[in-house]
């Protein structure tokens, strides 16, 4: 299958104050993209739910493109590495 890489799906400012609710919404987005809860759990790397909304997940290129078209999504960007300065 196409190789999956960590992508960051950025949704901007949070729409809910309850972090659990925010994370659930991320899981719903991911499972509707991937087709099942199990796959969403496997794919999820981080859920960003306090300072802003978004999540990091292992996605293939086509999955990343697909979710980027969602109206709630600001950006989908592959993970990369920073260095110590």
């Amino acid at each position: 299958s196409a190789e999956s890489k960590v992508h960051i799906v950025y949704l901007g400012e949070k729409q809910h104050d309850d972090p659990k609710h925010v994370t659930e919404s991320h899981h719903q987005m991911l499972s509707s993209l991937l087709g099942s809860e199990v796959e969403a759990d496997d794919s999820m790397v981080h859920s960003y739910r306090h300072g802003f909304s978004g999540f990091a997940a292992k996605l293939t290129e086509s999955q990343a493109k697909k979710i980027a078209d969602s109206p709630d999504v600001v950006h989908v960007i592959p993970d990369s590495f920073y260095k110590l300065a």
């Binding site: 802003f52 590495f81 920073y82 260095k83 110590l84």
Partner: protein, 666 residues
């Protein structure tokens, strides 16, 4: 840090200063996203530290070699984030790795920066006798929260920080209630636009700043080339590295009794008079020699055995020095003298092998001596510590420079702070640790100096916005060293420092505590910036969490209320606006003083600002025009609002571009 705070005027002995007026930052929480922490370090003892601040909502996460008991009233938080790193490095062997799968620091970088910003007092510390003194952070009573998102990769011998882990750490820090977020990390140039998620630090920082958290970032170590500064978002404080007024002279005595003072961190035995060689073909043989430091290994066997070697290099990175030392050592040599341009990144050579740096002039003096005698000899003595004049302050060679490559009209770096030869705590696992302390250099070390200063200022001004702190340190910064001498910027040749080297100048904590006026910014100012930078309405709306429609025509980036004026493409006359808020005495009157850049006319209206109980903020207009007839480089000046006590100074940087969007190499 045994010198930093006395140098910046934050001595403990001075009972009436920012340090003591703020109880050393007691209630402020500084968060560090880095390589973790060594909790047993004396820099994190909580002797004399009061109860944990009530606004703290974070926690202490146990893991490999890290227990909940490792946290205390000083080190109040420690978490680690590795899921992104693991997902990207499926081959990573957690059990085999020398790093700790916990908040514990293996490499020492996180420990070092945390102790610079907020370390407790540790008396009588030195690095094998060098840089001795009382080690402490800028805010010795501030609390420290560690977010480990950087992991040591054994195969690479370096550290990597997954951006998805960095973002998670920022998200947690915002939840936990940190007041200052210190990031000694950098992406690689070319940069991505601020809200493009590829610059995660900028995106996460936007939300942190919107919540009142002051985000301080290293400016990067890719100097002295221009346009290399990193972390350029207008909402973060970007820090350049300067030197202290401290150096480590290392006497080199030639056989003709000429004594030269090089620089090193050499704490080994004296090398008595020993043969001195510069590998070159004296013309009597057709054997190839090389006196270039990186190519010393090409010399024939026996050339360097039992001798001290002189070599020249054009590199300023320390790797050239350490590589030369290893070549000489493996060839049986007993020491190396490296003639180079200053790199401000001295560290001891492995196994205390004598490696001393000098400049080309002194290197040539030694070379002429070698050629003048049949048996040149040299003696090398251990390094000493020299503090105060005549040691001058410079912007370090490696410190990344402006203009801001994404948006040249946004002045970056914002401020300079000591980041060279800084002694602070480290991990005992680090191979350059001396008793749990190490001397390091980098904008990584300069950023936490600002984080510590900002922590003190936050105690004094708890209601200021993050932009207010940036404004205060920029408009009050020293343009000279603390003793009134010019600050030079190291580069392809040394020049007087300008705003693209060190922003407003060298941080002056005492003055920043009482800046008089501030150039404040809030979400609407950042929206002006984002609209002016061409980001689309939907991205901005999602970023700020409310529907946002940019004005039409787009606002000018020149009108972003920064404490600087930077015009990278002046052709016709431009008008720009700034707004200042009075944070000094309620009834204040300021008059403007303009020091225009060469060939540029700057007219400010009104020329006087009168503040009172009803008028706290006032705007003024600046009209700028050029009399140059060619495309010039940047010229620099200042715009100052002055009352009887304050000089609220912002840098003015103007480049004339008669022909726009034009690159010339003539």
């Amino acid at each position: 840090t045994t010198r930093t705070w006395d140098y910046l005027g934050l001595s403990v002995g001075n009972l009436k200063n920012l340090l003591n007026d703020t109880n050393m930052g007691d209630q402020v929480i500084i968060g560090f996203i880095d390589s973790g922490v060594w909790p047993e370090s004396e820099s994190f003892n909580d002797n004399g530290v009061g109860p944990v601040p009530s606004h703290w909502k974070g926690g202490c996460q146990s893991g490999e070699n890290f227990e909940l008991t490792n946290c205390n009233r000083k080190l109040i938080g420690a978490k680690y984030f590795i899921n992104g790193f693991l997902a990207e490095n499926e081959g990573f062997n957690s059990t085999g790795s020398r790093d700790y799968i916990s908040a514990r620091d293996f490499i020492g970088h996180g420990t070092h920066v945390a102790s610079i910003a907020g370390g407790s007092f540790v008396p009588n510390v030195s690095y094998k006798g060098l840089a001795g003194g009382n080690l402490r952070g800028g805010a010795p009573r501030a609390r420290i929260a560690i977010y480990k998102a950087c992991w040591y990769v054994d195969q690479l011998g370096t550290v990597a920080c997954s951006s998805s882990d960095i973002l998670k750490a920022m998200d947690e820090a915002m939840h936990d209630g940190v007041d200052v977020l210190s990031l000694s990390l950098g992406a690689q140039v070319p940069l991505y636009p601020e809200i493009d998620l590829r610059d995660r630090i900028a995106t996460g920082a936007f939300h942190a700043v919107a919540k009142g958290i002051i985000v301080v970032c290293a400016g990067g170590n890719s100097g002295p080339a221009a346009q290399t500064v990193l972390n350029t978002a207008p909402w973060v404080i970007t820090v350049a590295a300067t030197t202290l007024d401290r150096s480590f002279p290392t006497p080199i005595t030639l056989g003709n009794n000429n004594v030269i003072l090089g620089q090193a961190l050499y704490t080994g035995q004296e090398v008595g008079f020993t043969s001195l060689v510069y590998p070159e073909n004296s013309g009597h043989s057709n054997v190839t020699f090389s006196g270039v430091c990186e190519r010393l290994n090409l010399n024939p066997n026996g050339t360097m055995r039992g001798k001290v070697v002189l070599c020249f290099t054009t590199a300023t990175l320390f790797t050239a020095v350490s590589r030369a030392a290893s070549y000489v050592k493996s060839a049986g040599g007993v020491g190396v003298i490296i003639a180079r341009n200053p790199g401000y990144n001295l560290t001891p050579c492995r196994d205390d092998f004598p490696c001393v740096a000098i400049d080309y002039e002194l290197g040539t003096d030694i070379l002429l001596y070698i050629r003048s005698t049949g048996s040149p000899v040299v003696k090398i003595q251990p390094s000493r510590t020299m503090v105060g004049q005549p040691v001058g302050t410079k912007v370090a060679t490696f410190s990344s420079r402006g203009p801001n490559s994404i948006s040249p009209a946004i002045l970056k770096p914002d401020i300079g702070a000591p980041g060279v030869s800084i002694l602070a705590a480290t991990s005992p696992d680090s191979n350059s640790s001396a008793g749990g302390f190490d001397i390091l250099a980098g904008t990584s070390m300069a950023a936490p100096v600002i984080s510590g200063v900002v922590a003190l200022l936050k105690t004094m001004h708890p209601d200021w916005s993050p932009a207010a702190f940036r404004s205060a340190i920029v408009t009050t910064a020293w343009r000279t060293d603390p003793f009134g001498e010019q600050i030079f910027a190291e580069g392809s040749s040394r020049k007087v420092a300008d705003p693209f080297d060190y922003g407003g100048g060298l941080v002056n904590p005492e003055k920043a505590a009482d800046p008089g006026l501030i150039y404040d910014m809030g979400p609407k100012d950042y929206i002006i910036y984002l609209c002016s930078a061409g980001y689309n309405d939907s991205s901005i709306s999602q970023l700020v969490g409310q529907v946002t429609v940019c004005s039409n025509p787009k606002p000018s980036v020149l009108d972003v209320n920064l404490p600087s004026l930077t015009i990278p493409n002046l052709k016709e006359e431009v008008n720009l606006t700034r707004t200042v808020t009075n944070v000094g005495p309620v009834n204040s009157v300021y008059k403007v003083v303009v020091e225009p850049p060469l060939g540029v006319q700057v007219v400010v209206t009104p020329k006087k600002l009168v503040f009172n109980s009803k008028t706290k903020s006032l705007s003024f207009m600046v009209r700028v025009s050029t009399i140059h007839k060619i495309n010039t480089g940047f010229y620099f000046g200042s715009l100052i609002w002055r009352d009887s006590v304050h000089n609220v100074t912002i840098p003015v940087s103007v480049r004339t571009q008669i022909l726009q969007n034009y690159y010339d190499e003539n």
